[in-house]
Assembly symmetry: C2
Homo-oligomer: 184 residues x 2
């Protein structure tokens, strides 16, 4: 692919933090006008989210506490990519771990950067079709505590309007349902 | 507001990085089952995005290089909150700086977390109404190089389908236009 016309060449890079989930770099870059500027960059392994709709046409949401926000959030099931794990496998794994459900089919509907101003997190959004309960589901990560709820599309829309759904990917999922009438 | 039932109490917090844009903390938290776990947290000042539609019903996008992704992205006009700046003022300022446009009215349509798994960035999405060219617009940040383009709603949809729009807030904006037929 051709280089972008506003490409910023890296002159120097400093590793600030190498954590369990994220890495933090500070790069010195050369701007298109020749000036040198600093970019603070969060490196993230990438993540998946799953729009899972029950036979009754209800959207599956998880209610969990999010430490960075110091609040609970209603979100579609989601999770980080493990190293070298293809995103579709992450999607199946996270759906089972968080909700005890399995999908016959997972279709990739969007791929996007969540916060490209400072972070390289690439997010894969799947639509799960043909979902059913798993008898003995794989258990969630040891640090994950979530409640699973089901809402109708009307309830989901209302939760967005009332500001009770306030997670980007989940608003996107509700809009996707509205646009495609992903109700049975 | 009542504490979430999976609330994680902070036992210790370590400041890893205090940058120009972001801060990074590593918190030790007590999980609901009593176990202690580490949370890596990026603190961000928050940001705004603007869905601006011309008199001809075209969506305003900016094409810019994004260092974290090492690629160019097509995005709606957006920018970080300055300290103590009300989001609606940030929205007006960023719209003018990035596009040379001004809005008669800015309506807050969504408020959401962009990446709540590791970051507290809260994003305010505005719909700009009554936009017009500013004669001598405020200039952009010294490190910002963007091209402004206008696309029809059909072109915007196609760019999403083709994976040429791959920014979360911009996909959300295109969905919003589709749902509300925000064409003149």
């Amino acid at each position: 692919m051709a280089q972008h016309h506003y490409y910023e060449k890296t002159i120097a890079t400093e590793k600030i933090f190498d954590g369990r989930v994220i890495k933090v770099l500070v790069d010195q870059v050369e701007l298109p006008n020749g000036a040198v500027h600093t970019r603070e960059i969060v490196k993230h392994p990438g993540a998946v989210g799953i729009i899972a709709i029950t036979e009754e046409g209800k959207l599956i949401l998880v209610d969990q506490f999010r430490k960075p926000c110091e609040c609970g959030l209603l979100e579609i099931p989601a999770g980080k990519l493990e190293k070298n794990e293809p995103p579709i496998l992450t999607a199946g794994r996270e759906l089972e771990e968080e909700t005890g459900l399995r999908a016959e089919n997972l279709e990739l509907i969007y791929t996007f950067y969540t916060a490209p101003g400072f972070c390289d997190e690439l997010f894969y959004m799947y639509l799960a079709k043909g979902i059913s309960k798993v008898e003995n589901p794989a258990s969630a990560d040891e640090d994950e505590f979530v409640d699973v709820i089901e809402v109708t599309i009307e309830e989901a829309e209302q939760l967005v309007v009332e500001g009770k759904i306030r997670d980007a990917k989940t608003i996107m999922a509700v809009q996707y349902m509205q646009l495609t009438k992903q109700v049975k």
